[in-house]
């Protein structure tokens, strides 16, 4: 693989290309990016900055917003701001890992299927189609029933559920690219399948795959929230945003901050990620071209 690493030296420097990419962002893109960065830093640094942890309870139950409790308190009198920020770790972290796994594995398998012969392609596609046929919540229930609920388990479950979708999408793109003359030229040169996959096909499907990655992130967040709402996700006392909504469902009748805050957090993250996707440079360029 030595030859592959040397050819990588001709790639443009990553820093400059990222700067030019960001300069294409519209206002909505920047707003989305700011919210995503906010939640990411909340997940990483938030708990360290808080004056109290979400574990400390004992105050008034379902207290309204006040100077002491910026987002009120939950059904056990714990500080809601601390709970939401600690929950960000689970929601953002688990969803991020699961999405990376799903899209990464899906893309690699898709590239392999597209660049290989039709037997491998057919075998892989049918196997993953079978996975798609299982309802996602049902599958998650089975996994939790079989292996118990833990963070690694959740990541793997969500990754398996969303991998076939990423595979389908990437394969559809890769098959088209694979039929182009430059791939044929690479093959007549005697290139191996791995080179064709990574250097001829992947760069030309990366744009749409990134957009798909963002979309998949949103799905995973929603799946995790749904699982936690059912009590199958993150287990108490730890809580992701979905569990926070379920725990504090009692405050719904009073429109309490303790149920609204985690719901708003889920909504803001998913919308923000979509805003970023919509402003990805490849997509903006395509729409400009179409206009």
């Amino acid at each position: 693989m030595a030859s592959i690493t040397t050819s990588a030296s001709f790639a443009p420097t990553p820093r400059s290309s990222w700067l030019t990419r960001l300069s294409h962002f519209g206002v909505s893109g920047w707003v989305g990016l700011a919210i995503v960065v906010f939640w990411a830093s909340a997940a990483i640094f938030g708990p360290a900055l808080l004056s109290r942890t979400g574990a400390a309870g004992g105050g008034a139950v379902f207290a309204p917003i006040s100077a002491a409790h910026w987002l009120g308190t939950d059904y056990l009198g714990r500080d809601m701001l601390a709970r939401v920020i600690e929950g960000a770790r689970y929601t953002v972290g688990v969803a991020f890992l699961a999405t990376l796994l799903a899209s990464g594995v899906g893309t690699v398998l898709a590239l392999f299927a597209a660049a290989s012969n039709r037997w491998i392609d057919g075998g892989l596609s049918r196997t993953l189609d079978t996975l798609t046929a299982i309802p996602s919540k049902m599958f998650a229930l089975l996994m939790v029933a079989g292996f118990g609920s833990s963070i690694p388990m959740l990541v793997i479950t969500a990754a398996i559920i969303y991998m076939p979708g990423a595979y389908r999408f990437a394969r559809a793109l890769a098959v088209n690219v694979n039929a182009l003359d430059y791939v044929t030229v690479a093959r007549t040169r005697g290139e191996r399948t791995l080179y064709v996959m990574l250097y001829e096909i992947l760069p030309n499907i990366a744009g749409p795959m990134l957009a798909d990655l963002g979309l998949r992130f949103v799905y995973v967040v929603l799946l995790l929230a749904a699982l936690s709402f059912l009590g199958l996700g993150v287990q108490p006392p730890a809580a992701d945003w979905g569990s926070l909504v379920r725990e504090n469902i009692g405050a719904l009748a009073d429109a309490g901050a303790s149920v609204i805050a985690p719901s708003a957090a889920i909504a803001s993250l998913t919308i923000a990620v979509n805003l970023v996707i919509d402003n990805l440079p490849g997509r903006v360029a395509r729409e400009r071209g179409a206009r």
């Binding site: 040397t6 003359d181 430059y182 030229v185 007549t188 040169r189 005697g190 760069p203 030309n204």
Partner: protein, 541 residues
Amino acid sequence: MGSPVVVDNLTVRAGGATLVDALSFTIRPGEVLALIGESGSGKTTTALALMGYARRGCRITSGSVRIDDVDVLSLAPRQLRALRGRTVAYVAQSAAASFDPSRTILDQVVEPACLHGTLPRGEAELKAIALFRELALPEPETIGQRYPHQVSGGQLQRLMAAMALITDPAVVILDEPTTALDVTTQVEVLRAFRRVIRERQVTGVYVSHDLAVVAQMADHILVLRDGRMRELAATEPILVAPQNEYTKSLLAAARPAPRVVAEAPDTDVLLRVRGLSAGYGPRTRQGTASTMILEDIDLELKRGQSIGVIGESGSGKTTLARVVAGLLAPCSGTVEFDGRPVKPTLEQRTREELRRIQIVFQSADTALNPSHTIERILARPLQFYKGLQGDALRARIDELLDLVKLPRNLAQRLPGGLSGGQKQRVNLARALAAEPDLILCDEVTSALDTVVAAAVLDLMADLRRALGVSYLFISHDLHTVRAVCDEIVVMRHGRKLAQVARADYERGPHHPYYEELARAVPELRRGWLDELDRRASAVAA
């Protein structure tokens, strides 16, 4: 009877760029004006402006277009809609892309008449059938019942002309109507077009980059470059005594002179193909494919020689190249390279064998990876076959760019930033990087303008002289093949019909199909098509 068209000071802009710059010309009623130039010269933009239409992002900024007494550019959108398809009709380059695949042909051909209310549906259908007959379409009564994919490209192009003529327009705009067709089909379509245009005395605008075609169709020729008029004169004077330098270069490119390469006497045979059959689809028990493309091909190519393979689309010429390159395993027969039989598939061939045969594809747009820089595209074969690195690699890339006459600073660009001709040069340079013995050239100049194509042919002849490479040159254009090849192999329906050596190009008698192909190439003089017609009718009588 057609209407006069007067264009005065027409200017079209897109953003900061001027696409058409202060163009003025007049077409007398019933005459045909040809707009000629390379791609990007603004000829289609001008033609569209005659209908008061500017493509997205373009704006007609000044000037006037008068058809009869109507100032087209000052019309309201409603009036423009009444004008288009009624007074001015347009025949686009790709009829296949212009027909709706889900509706029958007749349904679409009568549409302009129904839309503009010139004829009731029943009469329009009768008129369409009359037009089909006039355009020499087969089975005029029933061809309209078919769907667009059920007729050939040449027929579809004529059907589109029928659609344009059904409202009896005063002006017809033909935008490269035969560019996508084979030579033999092109002749039929040109004949049909010319007859209807003459009989109806409509005013015509014929957009093309092919001077020889234009010479048969037009009364006047307007030469465009970069949106400016270079020359405007009657057809005869332009062909005989062009005034403008650019017109002269167009004329020179349209008559490709043979690029003679002193042939090395009796070198050894580099490529020998014997009894080759190949096809696509699952194999039957007898070892033949379900769809056979090539049958029993024999071919011999000597070292340093250049052989042209010609035939219309579907004749199997590209499949031949794919078999030699190892992309398709033959069903029977052998391919010998440099005295040794080569393995049928890519996987079985050694890297050294692969290096010695390189393939160059027709469309440089799809042959270069759009996300790799030129440097990286050229570097890969050098690293792959020779293991070059660092300074040696960079030096070799510079050499290659010099060899194909491209500036060295192009190396950092992506293919998207190059012109068609430049891309095709990079395409060639990549093949040369492997230092092959044989280059398979699949229609390498078909997608290029005449002038650019001529430059690429020159380059290929130079390279052959300098490096001693051999070419298997696949094309449907007899002119190009004659210009660069020592021998011509004529193929039809997957069989080799004839092989003609350079010395015998002008001497007959040849295989009738070769004669037919040779006759079908438009000659750069007026009246060529008339002579062809006369000869055809003499044979018929």
